[in-house]
């Protein structure tokens, strides 16, 4: 049994997403003792509306994602940047989950990754995610940061595998750093 269970959340819904490719590459780059699994999808979440929450409660898929987050030792977001910010769908998922009692992100160690065709590799979405995660009392890993710029060239055209060695090395370092952060935060004072 793995010591650490880490949930991975992809911010894109399209099948050919580069960020989903990054997410799929993670298990092969994880240190010993870390098991990674993809989170339940947020594709079926309605748009957040407090009136829904008050009349019929939290939708089933929201509770499923929230439970998966609560059960994990840590989280990794692999997300594209849309219009210099967080994709609306991902932000909507965070908004729903944030309203739950026993708020799932609280105290959770988190790592961020983004891939994009541009030169910044999704830098702006990560800083916006950091900001939202502060409010939610999550602990976002500092470094190394994973910005996969000009991403189309870094995946195998046919198999969609992450083939860029520099990126693979960097992700390995980040996952090791995340394991250390989880250990640090779970240490009893």
């Amino acid at each position: 049994m793995a010591d650490l269970n880490v949930l991975t959340i992809c911010g894109s819904l399209r099948r050919g997403s580069f960020n989903a490719m990054v997410q799929r590459a993670l298990p092969s780059l994880a240190p010993d003792g870390m098991a990674l699994k993809p989170a339940p999808s947020f594709a079926e979440f309605p748009l957040y509306n407090a009136d829904i929450q008050n009349s019929t409660g939290f939708p089933g898929p929201v509770n499923v994602l929230a439970d998966a987050i609560r059960a994990a030792d840590g989280l990794i977001f692999c997300t594209p940047e849309y219009n210099f910010g967080i994709p609306g769908g991902l932000k909507n998922a965070i908004d729903w989950v944030s309203r739950l009692p026993n708020q799932p992100f609280a105290g959770k160690p988190i790592a961020l990754q983004s891939a994009s065709p541009g030169p910044l590799g999704g830098g702006r979405v990560q800083y916006d995610m950091r900001r939202a995660m502060v409010f939610l009392d999550a602990f976002t890993l500092n470094k190394p940061e994973i910005f996969i710029g000009n991403c189309a060239s870094k995946f195998d055209e046919k198999t969609s595998e992450l083939k860029d060695e520099t990126t693979r090395g960097l992700i390995k370092q980040q996952l090791t750093a995340l394991a250390a952060l989880i250990a640090q935060l779970s240490r009893k004072g």
């Binding site: 399209r14 407090a50 609306g88 932000k91 909507n92 729903w96």
Partner: protein
């Protein structure tokens, strides 16, 4: 004094709940606007699916997204009145922006936009506004500067029953912004 024709301004609310302070603020705007501005309200984005490029590729833009985009294109300017969720833009509003941003003849391009927010806390939703400024830059909107309308401690400033904005300072600020925004929109149009 009105110079030129009346400007058609579309008001977009970032919250979907009925009792929203931001919806209440949006409803106040026609009464506080100068005579040169004619305000109308955008349809809700409540029934937009979550953005997924595969939907766009398979079946095109959903009809409700097209209707929303058309309303934006037809307007001379926009006012976005939005709460802040988790220190940022509500996911639903961002999802609506993400959808229309993918269109040809992108609706926000060169569109003058004013921002307003109301929230229960001391910062009054300002973090959503600054994040909106950043996102609107990416889609080439032209965002109005000052005065900013940031309604802090909202529950104290709206009537508990009618949800009317009753705070004189906030009302005055909204009037100033709308007057400044009218001049701004005419300047932008003149230089186009």
């Amino acid at each position: 004094m009105m110079v030129g024709r009346q400007l058609d301004v579309l008001v977009i609310c970032g919250s979907l709940r009925k009792g929203s302070y931001n919806a209440a603020l949006a409803r106040m705007l026609p009464a506080l606007a100068p005579s040169g501005l004619s305000l109308r309200f955008a349809h809700s984005f409540a029934d937009f699916p979550l953005y997924d490029a595969d939907i766009q590729t398979a079946s095109g833009f959903p009809a409700q997204v097209n209707a929303w985009a058309e309303a934006i294109r037809a307007a001379d300017a926009l006012i976005i009145v939005s709460p802040e969720y988790n220190w940022s833009i509500p996911g639903g509003l961002k999802n609506a922006i993400d959808w229309v941003s993918r269109m040809k003849d992108q609706p926000f391009k060169d569109k003058p936009v004013a921002l307003q927010s109301a929230a229960g806390g001391i910062l009054g939703g300002s973090r959503a506004q600054y994040h909106l400024r950043q996102c609107l830059t990416s889609i080439d909107a032209i965002v109005f500067g000052r005065p900013e309308v940031i309604v802090t401690f909202a529950p104290q400033k709206f009537d508990e029953k009618t949800l009317e904005l009753k705070d004189a300072t906030a009302i005055d600020l909204v009037k100033q912004q709308l007057a400044g925004f009218e001049a701004f929109v005419r300047r932008v149009a003149a230089s186009a």
